[in-house]
């Protein structure tokens, strides 16, 4: 089975799969958190991820603020944008069918992507790696920056999961999801919690964007092409399950990488094939707790 497939190729694609999987995991986790509390499918997630990368690029090229500064500043800026967006766009339509949330965030995506493309063109902008070099493991060359991305995003995923599933704050969030009136009657400001949750999810997307800038090129469409995969990931994992989103994200990244090694023609398709199979075999989602949710 391994005939003709070098260990270098295999490990190289595994690493790429793990990197892609890290981004799938972080973004689908953010999407799942937002959906869990607001029942809004945040189509703008990809655009907000792209904004994070663009802000990092702008910080470096106009203010001379390096990657590590951008890693803090960009997510905060994107989160602030999220607060404004939640207040102006999502809150007024919260009482409507949740389809409108998806459509409104889609409209915002068109605006953001269009403006960025108008200003900076559609070709990718380079962002050099903040940690150049790497280590030769004998069977492959591992760039330091890629190792950093895998470790950092893994820590972010675990931390966020812990925050939501195992802390008091997370318990409020989950309770507000089940029954906002009762949580409100305990004196918790649910609308503010919704705004902050949205900002947090969006900030995560911005942070992923900064992480992605040195790996993928910074371009206006970097988010929407990723968004399609993220939708598939969330559908496979089951909506609203945070751990499900994380695990499915990593799993699909690796599966995609392996497909590139063993059957390259299907690499684009494999995630969607898995989604269709998952819908047929397990309609409620791989990791969904609720039947038919």
């Amino acid at each position: 089975m391994f005939d003709g497939i070098s260990i270098q190729l295999l490990m190289g694609q595994l690493l790429i799969g793990l990197i892609n999987g890290s981004f799938y995991a972080m973004l689908s986790m953010g999407l799942a958190i937002i959906f869990g509390l607001m029942h809004v499918v945040n189509f703008a997630h990809g655009a907000q991820y792209m904004l994070g990368a663009f802000i990092a690029w702008l910080l470096l090229n106009t203010l001379g603020i390096n990657y590590w500064g951008a890693l803090f500043i960009a997510p905060v800026v994107v989160a602030l944008f999220g607060i404004v967006m939640e207040r102006l766009v999502l809150k007024p339509i919260h009482h409507l069918d949740h389809l409108y949330g998806l459509l409104a965030t889609y409209a915002v995506t068109l605006i953001i992507e269009g403006l960025i493309r108008q200003q900076y063109g559609s070709s990718g902008l380079p962002y050099s790696s903040p940690i150049p070099g790497g280590v030769n493991l004998g069977f492959m060359f591992l760039p330091w920056y890629r190792l950093w991305v895998v470790l950092f995003s893994f820590a972010m995923c675990l931390g966020t999961w812990y925050l939501i599933e195992h802390t008091r704050l997370g318990a409020y969030l989950r309770a507000a999801n089940e029954n906002p009136e009762i949580v409100e009657s305990f004196g918790i400001n649910v609308p503010r919690m919704i705004t902050l949750t949205y900002a947090f999810g969006v900030g995560l997307a911005g942070l992923s964007g900064v992480l992605a800038a040195p790996i993928y090129q910074v371009s206006p469409s970097m988010g929407s092409s990723l968004m399609i995969v993220i939708f598939a990931v969330v559908v496979i994992g089951g909506m609203g399950s945070i751990m499900g989103a994380i695990l499915t994200g990593y799993l699909l990244g690796v599966v995609e990488g392996l497909t590139k090694v063993f059957y390259p023609e299907a690499a684009n398709l494999v995630i969607f094939v898995i989604m269709i199979l998952a819908l047929i075999l397990r309609p409620q989602g791989l990791f969904s707790k609720k039947e038919g949710a």
Binding site: D97, H98, L102, A107, L115, L269, I280
Partner: protein
């Protein structure tokens, strides 16, 4: 009564329009009238948001083009082929997608549409990135020559009128009543002994078939088919048209298609501003005018009449 007057006025306008406006632009509008109506059948009448309607449109454009390029059958057979392929795809996608309700239906159709996009990109017959060029426009019924755009316009118009009549029949049939009931209260429909999933599946098949017809027409109007026709931008554009025109009304998609194609024509020279303005208008429609142009006009007329009686 006033509705029939309105439709008659639109029809008269459509009949004389090619004397004043470039007929290819008009045919584009008609193609998108059918396409937007197919989308409207799902979202406006069943409450299903198909975020991948372009897969039926684009795939049918390729299939129709392929039939015309390789067989030389008369035009209506090729269009029928495209329609059929659209319908079969709609049935298959429906089998998978109606398993999840509400918002997930949108995400699943969106993802499957991308799957279809990649499939078509990698297929030999589509010409990949280059698209399918020089699709011949054969004679209709084997003897009516429509290579001239002016004459072809009237054929496209006839197909559009028939399509609208079809949508009207579907929506105003007992079947259509069940669809609307599913949109308004699915559990209740289920408790009455209907099987909502089956109705959704049929609606999906019909809608996708009509989207396929629109795609086939598009391929014969422009005589080419490209990957753009399958892309999510086209799926989004048809959503925009329907919401702008008026969701859940038969005239809404017509008005929406007319406005959007006209807008695109005028804004084409301003590059990205066409897409940006689409986003801004769509957002305004969602936030402030959810009934769309037709719905808001209707409400205004009703208010005016009610005020006049006082």
């Amino acid at each position: 009564m006033s509705r029939y007057l309105g439709l008659a006025a639109i029809l008269v306008l459509a009949l004389i329009a090619p004397f004043f406006v470039y007929s290819v632009t008009l045919m584009t509008i008609l193609v998108f009238v059918i396409f937007a109506s197919s989308f409207n059948l799902l979202l406006g009448y069943v409450g299903l948001l198909s975020f991948g309607q372009a897969m039926f449109f684009g795939a049918a454009a390729y299939i129709t083009g392929h039939i015309l390029k390789t067989t030389g059958v008369s035009l209506e057979i090729a269009l029928l082929g495209g329609t059929l392929v659209g319908a079969v795809m709609g049935f298959l996608v429906g089998l998978v997608a109606v398993r999840r309700s509400g918002i997930q239906f949108a995400m699943i159709t969106f993802a499957i549409a991308q799957f279809v996009y990649f499939l078509l990109l990698q297929s030999e017959f589509t010409g990949g990135e280059d698209g399918m060029q020089r699709i011949p426009r054969t004679e209709i019924f084997g003897f009516i020559d429509l290579s001239d755009n002016f004459a072809f316009y009237y054929f496209v118009l006839a197909v559009t009128v028939l399509s609208i009549a079809f949508f009207y029949r579907v929506v105003h049939s007992p079947f259509g009543e069940v669809l609307k009931a599913i949109r308004d209260n699915e559990p209740r429909v289920e408790s009455l002994g209907f099987k909502p999933d089956r109705y959704k599946l049929v609606a999906m098949t019909l809608s996708a078939g009509m989207a396929g017809l629109a795609g086939g027409l598009k391929a014969t109007v422009f005589q080419f088919a490209t990957l753009t026709d399958v892309s999510w931008h086209v799926s989004g554009e048809v959503i925009f048209m329907t919401l702008l025109g008026g969701l859940g009304t038969l005239t809404g998609p017509m008005v929406g298609a007319g406005i959007v194609i006209g807008l695109n024509d005028h804004l084409a020279q301003f590059g990205e501003w066409a897409l940006i303005s689409q986003g801004v208008i769509l957002l305004a429609v969602i936030l402030f005018f959810r009934r769309g142009v037709v719905g808001e006009l209707g409400a205004f007329v009703r208010r005016y009449k009610a005020g006049g009686r006082k």
